[in-house]
Symmetry: C2
Subunit: 364 residues, 2 copies
């Protein structure tokens, strides 16, 4: 009865909640420093908080489906037009799912350089898509463009290029993206979830390339990870087809007003980006001073750290940090990385210091 594709998948193991972690490690929830999920250390925009509180009286009403005002605001923010935009109600993850519905037939392929965001594969697997793994150059911390181009064949439907790349933090150069765009008629999905922290975007390529879609989110610089708002930007034809199969009401009423209010809060956006960049640079320098660690240069709001010289693997180190109330990401489950990498999100300077202090206590 259940499809073979699904019978062959592994059970999903959800991350433990803060409550469970607090209980297991005998910590107060409020003391735990959360540097595991690349969230915004500044919290949400006060204007978003206010807008959401005001809208609670309408929680019994269905959301709007057209989202015209939000598309207009996103178009202004991204210097595109509203008919180039599709908004997802489960963050950018919903847009990835829509890409599966729109482009993947069973047996077709998608390309992802490893390591990168694992959710592409998780989402596309039920559609019967086969991953073709290209390479991320860990030394240069950028994509190995030739490996992507060599992976293209007539079954290729989607190519994912994450820049800044999660979890490595490195950028993909514009001329590498255009080389890939020109090598295929498949859709090239440039994931700019973290672009605000790098200050560079590939939006301008949309005018020259029909096979480009840019993926973005309100979960990072916009401080709304819990509200699940993402968007895709492409040419109007592709966006129109995606709208034909999009879940009609997936964006909650409160997410809608939160997104609008945040986009209107220019001060918050500016402060949010500056704050995370400052914290990233601070953390980078503190970690670089530690002999047993190798930190990759990052253009995002997290840092990838090679910990093999500590004599511990990531699972062990993450556990020791948890005992001290600090959550970071064990990267062992990222395909393309071995068991000696952790990813740490930027926090407030105080949270960064707590992490550094705990780390020193463990490895020095």
């Amino acid at each position: 009865m259940i499809r073979d594709t699904i019978l062959g998948t592994e059970p999903y193991v959800p991350g433990r909640s803060i409550k469970e972690i607090a209980k297991e490690y005998k910590l107060k929830e409020s003391e735990i420093v959360k540097l595991g999920s690349n969230e915004n250390p500044l919290g949400p925009s006060p204007k978003a908080v206010e807008a959401v509180k005001h809208e609670t009286k309408n929680m019994h009403r269905y959301p709007e489906s057209g989202l015209d005002d939000l598309k207009k605001a996103i178009a202004d923010y991204s210097e595109t037009r509203p008919n180039q935009i599709i908004v997802g109600g489960d963050g950018a993850d919903e847009i990835i799912d829509l890409l599966g519905k729109t482009f993947i037939d069973p047996g077709s392929e998608f390309i992802v350089p490893l390591p990168s965001y694992m959710y592409y594969e998780y989402t596309l697997r039920p559609y019967g898509a086969k991953p073709a793994y290209a390479k991320w150059d860990m030394e240069e911390n950028t994509v190995d463009t030739n490996s992507v181009i060599e992976s293209i064949n007539d079954k290729t439907r989607l190519i994912f290029l994450c820049t800044p790349n999660n979890p490595t933090g490195g950028l993909i150069r514009e001329d590498d993206i255009t080389r890939i765009l020109e090598s295929t008629s498949a859709l090239v999905v440039v994931d700019e979830a973290y672009f605000e922290f790098a200050g560079v975007s590939n939006i301008k390529l949309l005018k020259d390339y029909e096979n480009l879609l840019i993926l973005r989110t309100f979960s990072k610089a916009m401080g709304l990870a819990g509200m699940r708002i993402g968007y895709g930007i492409s040419n109007p034809r592709i966006i129109d087809y995606m709208h034909r199969i999009k879940p009609v009401f997936s964006l909650t009423r409160l997410s809608h007003v939160a997104a609008l209010a945040t986009l209107s809060d220019k001060d918050y956006i500016k402060k949010s980006i500056e704050f995370s960049i400052k914290s990233r640079e601070y953390l980078y320098h503190r970690l670089s001073e530690m002999d047993k660690l190798r930190v990759l240069r990052s253009y995002a709001n997290y840092l990838l750290v090679d910990i093999r010289e500590t004599g511990m693997n990531a699972g062990q180190l993450v556990d020791e940090l948890l005992k001290r109330g600090v959550i970071v990401r064990d990267c062992t489950s990222f395909k393309g990385l071995d068991e000696y990498w952790i990813r740490v999100s930027v926090g407030t300077i105080k949270e960064d210091d707590k992490f550094i202090d705990a780390l020193k206590e463990i490895i020095e």
Copy 2:
């Protein structure tokens, strides 16, 4: 590049927003009576409003993925166990989508008696599923069980039985459901979105039938349509497989706390159900008095009305009602209904009266 299945779909036409309707018909937004979407006239639970306001400070944090506390609360409410429950973050619509991923291969079939909820077909179409239409008996206002059983073949994967049925309001008898369950190994999806207003559920059948899944929502009796919370209840094996491919973070943080708070607010739930039933019976009697209308008996929070004796079709009548500030549903787009049906949701008694007054002005 775009899949053939998608190229063949019609563009989606979103419903007009209240703002657009107000502008077009020169009305104040606050004056418009919304009886088109089967929402809860009572508004959300005050406890849910309070819980959401409190949680706004955490909007920058990802939602929890396990939702253990919510599954526990739903299990208590539905007299099942947490491992029988899957929670969707786009209402029950997300569960329907997961059913597509879990059970539909291209070319396989699903059965739906017409008229019924149109979203099953909208959601399953991109998976390459073919609808097989059975019949809803409009005279008896219940399913034509034989027509369902006759539609079963070896390609059938899902059978949708909506009870109370949207848009007709009629119930499916338990012995008809068991006859269908025993006629197939396909999954029978019993959609109980409106069960609270009928006071009957088919949960108890789960212990005897492996091929049953019950679909429910927080959008109706729970007053949270804007927050997009739904759930499926089935045997643990099916629920486990669905969890393997479920979007990990699709339920927003605020939807999570709103659902928990509403389930804890027993007074609200009781009042909400009683209120809608009272309004439904009131509306039924008022409409029954009008010679040119035929109203179907309903066990839900809406009424289906045959308007052909008025000399107008539903599009014309809905437009006249809009001019008077009342939104009801033109059912012409429901397959299996012609252009002479409207569906009206229950409102407050004051809203019901405004609708009746407008209707009288138009047709008498």
